[in-house]
């Protein structure tokens, strides 16, 4: 009679998941090793749909991994290496304890190591996959390369990170793929477009780190280990695509120029070479010597028509951006961040130099008459050359983001800088657009040619500003119309204390036409309200959520719009104009 009784939790989702501790036991690894393995192999926990079922009826909070993932880890050869290393450490300790120095030496010679190449290949089967995931690797390597060599991690790791980041920067310079830069309070954000992938990374400002105590550096080191491997392979491949020699070598021409007198200051040749590379002032050697860069013309496909034209236009714009600073000669004062500025300027084709005492690789002196811009970050300078602009570093960043050389007047020595906007924000309609951005957009459209702006009368400027204000008002009105479609608009209006709310039009004030319109609107609103009443519970919930989000954004926008600090900015704008 009947088969075996079915037991609970022996099939279904309960068997698809495994808790962390069980997984660890299955793999026979310590927790630290398990973590390391997960980091290297990219295994992450999963949240089961029915936690209680998976947890065998218990509701205790547990971390679950997919059982498949753990089975996948079982075959990993690196697990064996972990065990070997553990044994090695044990043997070494024993040999030390017994003072068997020959044994120690022998053990050290045969220290087991492991390579992550196969893991990288497995995690990123194609090059594009790898490139897509390089953001974190870049940020991490840039951070580690700024660490002091004081034992937070191995010195070799720091030097390797430094080397890789320098290689990366050199690649970006050579391929001219930098697109956006942003000076934030955290550090400097860069965004480059490499082989069609947008890659963003963050570089901290050049300060000594105050190492926090509540950070597990072992985790970070494991990540860095994986990232350096990945990063190196990517660099190799990228250099290959540009026909550059890897590891990078300076151009023979540049190298002879850079035979500086400071050569003997460096103990090791390799050290000075890395420094020279990181100076970013010289171009790299190529495998096949070619002419600088041939213009690659887009083939015309007549069928595509408009699309094609748009693409062509885009291409042209990009080319123009790549040559943004071409022909300009910059000199960096010693108080500006040399590396980032040299990197950006070189990415857009400028020539750049700095004081010889600042860093190796400066190609010309301050006294050079052909310098067009000197980047200065101090209130005043004693000796100024007449034929060059003295500008603050923000000009470079803003110009890159605007994809055009901005008028330098706002960025002169000692002037109050205009706000620095994030290039990563893309405003949708309904979002708040800072007035500076509107101004910039107008400038990009060519409404205010940069050169002639200084000649414009102040009256005209005033008019323009008025226009802008009017535009803004128009925008607001439009918004209002939009808002009216939202039914819960009245609450919102209450919150915006300062704005004029369109009250109910009284019949004797407006003609019968307006009245009709008003009535119709009211009718529609009521219709909608009634229809909302008939919504299903689920849909109502979703609808409420969406409307809540919309309301929140409009509230934020309105709060930004009527920020108290707004009028003062106008004053500062005027002030700077007067100075110019």
């Amino acid at each position: 009679m009947g088969g075996l009784q079915k037991k609970k939790y022996e099939r279904g989702s309960a068997t698809n998941y495994i808790t962390r501790n069980k997984a660890r036991k299955k793999l026979q690894l310590s927790l630290a090793d398990f973590r390391r393995l997960c980091i290297l192999k990219g295994i992450y926990p999963h949240e089961p749909k029915h936690k209680k079922k998976v947890n065998k009826g218990s509701t205790a909070p547990r971390t679950f991994y997919l059982f498949k993932d753990i089975r996948f880890l079982l075959h990993e050869p690196i697990v064996r290496k972990f065990r070997e290393y553990k044994v090695f450490v044990r043997k070494l300790r024993k040999a030390y304890g017994k003072a068997e120095w020959t044994g120690v030496e022998r053990l050290r010679d045969n220290k087991p190591g492991y390579k992550l190449d196969h893991i990288i290949k497995e995690r990123y089967p194609t090059f594009i996959d790898a490139l897509r995931d390089i953001d974190d690797a870049l940020s991490m390597c840039f951070l580690f390369s700024t660490f002091a060599r004081t034992g937070k991690c191995h010195v070799q790791t720091i030097t390797l990170c430094r080397r890789l980041t320098v290689e990366w920067m050199n690649y970006v310079v050579t391929s001219r793929s930098l697109r956006k830069v942003f000076l934030s309070i955290k550090g400097i954000y860069y965004q480059a477009e490499v082989l069609g992938q947008l890659i963003t990374w963050l570089v901290p400002y050049q300060f000594a780190h105050d190492h926090p105590t509540d950070v597990d550096y072992r985790v970070m080191a494991t990540f860095t280990e994986m990232y350096t491997t990945l990063f190196g392979f990517i660099n190799f491949r990228l250099y290959q695509t540009l026909n550059l020699v890897y590891p990078p070598k300076l151009d023979s021409k540049a190298e002879s120029e850079l035979k500086a007198e400071h050569e003997e200051d460096y103990a090791m040749d390799s050290e000075s070479y890395l420094e020279k590379l990181s100076a970013l002032s010289a171009s790299l050697a190529r495998v096949v010597a070619t002419a600088e860069e041939e213009e690659n013309q887009l083939d015309l496909f007549p069928t595509e028509g408009e699309n094609m034209q748009a693409r062509e236009k885009e291409q042209k714009e990009q080319e123009a951006q790549k040559r943004l600073f071409e022909g300009l000669k910059f000199f960096l004062n010693r108080e500006v961040p040399r590396e980032s500025l040299a990197f950006i300027l070189r990415c857009f084709g400028a020539e750049v130099s700095w004081d010889k005492s600042l860093c190796i690789g400066g190609t010309y002196e301050v006294t050079d008459e052909t310098i067009t811009h000197q980047i200065v970050d101090r209130p005043d300078m004693d000796k100024q050359y007449i034929n060059r602009y003295y500008i603050q570093p923000q000009w470079v960043f803003d110009s890159v983001n605007a994809q055009m050389r901005l008028p330098v007047e706002d960025y002169f020595l000692g002037t109050t800088l205009p706000p620095h906007l994030s290039p990563f924000v893309e405003e949708k309609d309904g979002d708040y657009v800072p007035p500076e951005k509107l101004k910039l957009m107008a400038l990009q459209r060519g409404e205010k040619p940069g050169k002639s702006r200084a000649e414009l009368d102040s009256e005209e400027e005033d008019e323009e500003e008025e226009d802008e204000e009017e535009e803004e008002e128009d925008d607001e009105e439009e918004d209002d119309v939009d808002d009216e479609e939202l039914t819960e608009e009245k609450n919102l209006k209450k919150m915006e204390g300062t704005r004029v709310t369109p009250g109910k039009v009284k019949p004797w004030e407006t003609g019968s036409v307006g009245n009709k319109v008003r009535l119709e609107q009211e009718e529609k609103a009521e219709e909608k309200r009634l229809a909302i009443m008939m919504m299903k519970k689920k849909e109502k919930y979703l609808y409420d959520k969406i409307m809540f989000g919309k309301k929140r954004t409009t509230r934020e926008v309105s709060s930004l719009r009527c920020a108290p600090a707004k009028p003062t900015r106008h004053i500062t704008c005027h002030h700077s104009k007067v100075q110019t």
Binding site: Y44, P45, T63, F64, K68, N110, K121, E122, P125, T126, A130, D133, D135, S139, M140, L183, S184, I185, K186, Y189, P204, Y205, A208, H209, H211, P212, D216, M220, F223, G232, F233, R237, E335, V336, R378, L417, P419, H420, S422, V425, P434, E526, E527, K528, R529, L530, A531, M533, M534, M535, E539, L542, Y543, M547, K550, L560, R561, P564, A565, K566
Partner: protein
């Protein structure tokens, strides 16, 4: 065996015009063969006089004095000090070497030249601190055991000075504490001191530069040193070594010992993706969820943001008080005037670390982003305009009651309206004018009123406390009024008088003039009365959880009362008759039961999914039913469809108090504590396949909310699309 007594003495003498200190040391040397010089100065031997058997031949190395002076001294004193006694001024180490004979030479006494006579007056107390003898007249004992007396008078500073000035030999005089005598050093002794000071050997004749003699020859000799034949074992290979070697060989063979690995020749980095093999991509890679990228920074993160992004003082305070998780921005926006003023970001490493944690600790899930237009979610309903007529505006307010109006009912002709209130009155209104035609005082707060639906009868049922009153208001057609009175008076009591649950009493006198006709006295408080559609039957509700006597059905023409239920099925909230068929609806707290009155059985039990039913209304067609509940819901049942609600409407914000259907128009209304009456279009089709269409068409507002109560009852006009509502604000309103 030979003993050398070294005595160094600390004396207050002047050597090189300086006061020097010297220690008297006794060193015994027990070796006669090797010139080992026992330097163990700490080991001091007291017995120094017993060295009679001295052989002075070996002494020459150590003391230059003996050579020069005499060989036949009984006791020699030697001094060889490499001690670390130092003087600050000239850092000269001076060691006094005193022979016994020189010890004899005191400043006062001439030196005893005879060598044999034991004129030694040396002190025998040994090497003790001489301060111990401070208080005694003597300073020790000589060899004979006689006391050695101190000199009569001690030298003081002046004497010392005078001595220094006058005595030409002062510089070579040392003071012997043990004998308390001054000793003048001889020329040889002075010379010795000088030599030692210079770091030379004490012996004048010692040659430091003797030619060295090779102990072993440096020439290779062809003959062995010894003539002894070599051992056999030197020809035979060692077994132990063989064993060791064979072990190693075995280990190598077995692969236990590996040759040292050659250095890695492959470069660290190479073209990893040289051969991109699509087949090598694992299946699991397709399921891989890549980690989301870091959020890109907005304007507020800039080092020099537009001023509107900076936080105001209050916002900053609020930000600081919030928990780190609740903060909308993880950092405080800051403005710096120039790039050089930007400090390091203190949480940089933290943030990177948190990102690492996110990458390997956070579960990843593909979430379908709902990208819906909220407008699409709103159901497409027919426009209310197309569903007219329905009441839209408030046109009349019936004012007169002084307390909340619990119940209203319209006459079947639609000309009159009756209302019962908590101020213990029943008022009759003319609908079109709003005029109060009649006011009747009753003996309690009126819970329910109901106008007889039969147009040929003019009767109103009113219930208060435990009484149900049948009134003839005397309004309208006189014929109808009189025929009603006739109907009531034409009653003939039956022959056998049955025991009934209520007592029927005919009103007379002034009460009769007021319109009272019949009084039904119930055993318990009555909450609701309701008429059957024909107007002969009347049901009253006495909610009581503990008995089966909750619902009574009365027949007016026969003045008969019966209790239809034998069992208590819960607290009855309200009851209703089916308009066409002999069904009876009883709403308990959560269910509505439908009974067949003829068959006397339960037909259906409707689950309302409500917590507490407040009111109920039956569609004039009889196949649909609505239930209002105190938990803000209105349930529409299609009795043909299911026992579960066909639709749940949550239109009201507060508890529903009354619901009503219109007799002819497809309308229903619900009134609630939020003071609003919602009119819905509820179309029921004859086609059984088509579900009823429910569309809310109007929200009517007008009643004030008093004591958290809004609308208490709603009822439709019997012929017009009008709705009456009574509220807690003591008014009745008509919406047309």
């Amino acid at each position: 065996m030979r003993t050398v007594n070294l005595e160094s003495q600390k004396n207050g003498t002047m050597s090189k015009a300086k006061e020097k200190s010297a220690k008297k040391r006794v060193v015994e040397e027990d070796d006669d063969q090797l010139p080992i010089f026992d330097k163990d100065v700490t080991e001091k031997k007291a017995g120094e006089e017993d060295d009679a058997d001295l052989s002075d031949s070996e002494e020459s190395v150590f003391s230059g004095l003996e050579d020069s002076e005499s060989d036949s001294h009984d006791e020699e004193e030697d001094a060889e000090e490499g001690d670390d006694e130092e003087d600050d001024d000239d850092a000269v180490i001076l060691d006094e070497i005193l022979t016994k004979s020189s010890g004899v030479e005191t400043a006062t006494e001439p030196p005893a030249t005879d060598k044999n006579t034991p004129t030694d007056i040396r002190n025998t107390v040994g090497n003790i601190p001489m301060e111990w003898y401070q208080d005694y007249p003597h300073i020790g004992y000589n060899l004979d055991g006689k006391k050695i007396f101190k000199p009569i008078r001690n030298k003081d500073e002046l004497d010392e000075f005078l001595d220094k000035m006058e005595n030409p030999d002062y510089w070579r005089t040392v003071h012997d504490k043990t004998t308390a005598s001054d000793i003048r050093l001889s020329d040889e002794q002075v010379d010795l001191v000088h030599r030692l000071q210079k770091g030379q050997f004490g012996d004048v004749n010692f040659n430091e530069y003797e030619p060295s003699v090779d102990f072993f020859t440096n020439e290779v000799m062809i003959h062995p040193v010894t003539n002894r034949p070599q051992d056999k074992r030197s020809f035979i290979p060692s077994l132990i070594e063989k064993e060791k070697v064979s072990k190693l060989v075995h280990a190598i063979k077995m692969g236990w010992i590996k040759p040292r690995k050659p250095k890695e020749t492959t470069p660290q980095y190479y073209d990893l993706w040289a051969k991109e093999d699509p087949n090598a991509i694992l299946g699991r890679h397709k399921m891989h969820v890549p980690a989301p990228k870091m959020r890109l920074p907005g304007h507020e993160e800039s080092y020099n943001p537009p001023p509107e992004y900076l936080l105001t003082e209050e916002e900053r305070m609020a930000w600081e008080q919030q928990d780190a998780e609740d903060r909308k921005l993880p950092f405080l926006p800051q403005k710096h005037s120039c790039l050089r003023a930007v400090p390091a970001f203190s949480r940089f490493i933290h943030e990177r670390f948190e990102r690492c944690l996110d990458l390997y600790l956070c579960p990843r899930q593909r979430k379908m982003r709902v990208n819906v237009n909220p407008e699409d979610l709103i159901p497409k309903l027919p426009k209310p305009k197309d569903l007219q007529p329905f009441p839209t505006t408030m046109s009349l307010v019936y004012i007169g009651h002084s307390s909340l109006v619990r119940s209203i009912s319209a006459s079947p002709t639609g000309q009159w309206l009756v209302s019962g209130s908590d101020d213990c009155t029943v008022r009759f209104w003319e609908v079109n004018t709003g005029r109060c035609m009649k006011t009747l005082e009753v003996g309690g707060a009126v819970k329910s009123v109901a106008w007889n639906p039969n147009p040929a009868v003019c009767l109103v049922a009113v219930c208060f406390e435990s009484t149900v009153l049948l009134l003839n208001p005397g309004l309208g057609d006189r014929l109808v009024v009189s025929s009603t009175d006739q109907l009531i008076t034409s009653y003939e009591p039956p022959e056998e008088d049955k025991e009934q649950a209520v007592t029927w009493a005919l009103s007379e006198g002034p009460e009769h003039d007021n319109g009272h006709r019949l009084t039904l006295t119930h055993p318990k408080a009555v909450k609701q009365v309701v008429w059957h559609g024909k107007g002969d039957y009347l049901a009253s509700v006495m909610p009581d959880n503990s008995s089966n006597l909750q619902v009574l059905i009365h027949q007016v023409s026969k003045r008969r009362t019966q209790n239809p239920f034998r069992k208590n099925k819960g607290l009855v909230q309200c009851v209703s008759f089916h308009p066409l068929r002999p069904y009876f609806f009883v709403a308990t707290q959560r269910y509505v039961r439908v009974y067949n009155l003829i068959k006397q059985e339960l037909t259906k039990k409707l689950m309302t999914n409500c917590k507490w039913i407040s009111s109920m209304a039956i569609h004039p067609g009889g196949d649909n039913l609505i239930c209002g509940s105190y938990d803000c819901r209105l349930a529409w049942f299609d009795l043909d469809l299911s026992t579960k609600p066909y639709k749940m409407l949550r239109h009201h914000k507060k508890a529903l108090r009354g619901v009503a259907y219109h007799k002819h128009y497809p309308l229903f209304a619900s009134g609630a504590d939020d003071g609003s009456v919602i009119i819905c279009h509820g179309m029921v089709y004859n086609d059984l396949l088509q579900n009823p269409l429910i569309v809310p068409v109007k929200v009517l507002k007008g009643h004030q909310i008093t004591h958290d109560l809004g609308v208490l009852d709603v009822t439709f006009h019997p012929t017009q699309p009008w709705v009456f509502s009574s509220g807690a604000d003591a008014t009745i309103r008509l919406f047309t």
